[in-house]
Amino acid sequence: MDNLVIAGRSFRSRLMIGTGKFSSNRAMVSAMEASGCEIVTVALRRVDLANPQDSMLQHIDRNRYLLLPNTSGARDAEEAVRLARLARAAGCEPWVKLEVTPDPYHLLPDPVETLKAAEILVKEGFIVLPYMPADPVLAKRLEEAGTAAVMPLGAPIGTNRGLRTRDLLAIIIEQARIPVVVDAGLGAPSHAAEAMEMGADAVLVNTALADTPNPAGMSAAFAKGVQAGREAFLAGLGGQRNQAEASSPLTGFLRNEG
């Protein structure tokens, strides 16, 4: 079986999904089920005392899905560590999608604070999957710090622009000895397929699944795209040529050459 293995745990699906921005819990669950995913990210936020919402946890089958709490909202390492600890206290397994994004506009990860937080969380026994810029040197440093995977961005979150960091993702994949999960910016199954064809181990998708009239249909489509890319990677893709090459024989035409 071609399983994804992170921190010794094995997953059949290479598509992780984010649970943000769905129009309803029903839509979220339909996307989760259609995607065949086994890992879903969630965020931690203050309860609104004025009108407490029922928790989305009630809608997620914890036996079927591994909850991967993120540290979204953290602006530095300290805030990220605090959020990770709260998530673990909530009874989650000690897995965390580490996010440190000081800039509220572009929501891009801070390489220095992310590395600092990763070092602390690894020491505290967390299984750390850091969201990071597509920076091959940082990826190696996070790997050395003991993260379970790296999650480089394909494009700024929510842009649906695909692999805008292609060249650097290729280097990260080539050098990594831990799983590479391409996160952020994947707006279409073809984007996810391309990441997998390049040799990524998995992808995480959210906006493209929440932001469509048909979350379940789109999630099924992404699942196939991820699988397509993975199978092509395993089968062995041919390289690109600059010169055409006939797919029909170049002899035996109905004419007498020279």
Binding site: G18, V42, R46, S55, M56, Q58, L67, R85, L86
Partner: protein, 66 residues
């Protein structure tokens, strides 16, 4: 007495414990995490932890996120 919960001033009866506070707030103790003065409480602590004037609490829960 006055507490600060999630950044807001909240009046509560003296010596209320966290468990009772949560039920007053109609929150399911299984579905929230409570941080008291920057220290994380476990659900077991809730009923044994009495609050005092000026305590700062964070009560958080999981929401959808990417």
């Amino acid at each position: 007495m006055q507490l600060q919960i999630n950044g807001e001033a909240v009046q509560a009866e003296d010596r209320i414990d966290v468990g009772r506070l949560l039920s007053r707030l109609e929150l399911n103790p299984q579905l929230v995490v409570v941080e008291l003065n920057r220290r994380i409480l476990t659900p077991e602590d809730f009923s044994e932890t009495a609050l005092t004037q000026g305590d700062v609490l964070e009560i958080v829960q999981f929401v959808g996120g990417g």
